[in-house]
């Protein structure tokens, strides 16, 4: 079974803090994705990566950056957290043009 894990299930941070969300997959998938999910807005793609050290912007990259130094790990970074970044963050991975598998999600609250 594909396993996608995320570093935290719940996270509370203060405005202005630097936040790291980690995602690890164990199936040697090339592609990894970060989404956020908000009520009424559905899931929106923040960033994705097709290979190590490669990244592409999704629909809403502003305020975020990513890092993929190893194939199995994809990190989402909030350089200076703001209250409008309070959300559920979901990581996913997939092979090329294949189904995506999601992690359990991290519910981030920025106060």
């Amino acid at each position: 079974d594909v396993k996608v894990t995320q570093s935290s299930r719940y996270l509370v941070k203060r405005t202005g803090e630097k936040v790291f969300l980690e995602c690890v997959q164990d199936m040697d998938h090339e592609n990894m994705f970060w989404y956020r999910q908000d009520p009424g807005l559905g899931l929106r793609l923040i960033y994705f990566s097709y290979d190590v050290k490669m990244k592409e912007k999704g629909d809403i990259p502003e305020g975020y950056s990513v890092s993929r130094e190893k194939k199995e790990r994809f990190s989402l970074i909030l350089e200076s957290a703001s209250t409008n970044q309070t959300s559920m963050y979901l990581c996913a991975s997939s092979l090329w043009e294949a189904e995506q598998y999601f992690g359990p999600g991290t519910r981030l609250t920025v106060t």
């Binding site: 899931l43 793609l45 629909d59 559920m88 979901l90 043009e97 294949a98 189904e99 995506q100 598998y101």
Partner: protein, 106 residues
């Protein structure tokens, strides 16, 4: 970008009933997936179905790519089927519909 519309937005069923969820998309896509998000927030991949028909137990899905829609069928629904069902399509990136919230009552 591609627009993805799901219907109905909400659906309430009695246990044992059948249902059909619909996903319309506005342009050609490379692939299409159906997901179930359980009450704990976990997204589970149900079908990867860019075209054709697939079945998995009480669930089946059909995608008619030329007409830009996909259907998810749930037969003999159970309370554990409750949650939100998302359709997602891939063009240059993945786009999700707003989801159908299904509540199955015992």
């Amino acid at each position: 970008g591609i627009q993805v519309e799901q219907s109905p937005p909400d659906l309430i069923l009695q246990e044992g009933a059948n249902s059909t969820l619909r996903c319309n998309f506005s342009d050609s896509v490379n692939n299409l997936q159906w997901f179930h998000q359980n009450p704990w927030g976990q997204l589970i991949n149900l079908f990867y179905i860019p075209s054709g028909t697939k079945q998995n137990g009480r669930l089946s899905a059909t995608t008619v790519a030329t007409e830009r829609y996909s259907l998810l069928y749930i037969s003999s629904s159970q309370t554990t089927d409750s949650g939100v069902y998302f359709c997602a399509v891939e063009d240059n990136d993945m786009r999700f519909g707003a989801g159908t919230r299904l509540t199955v009552k015992p």
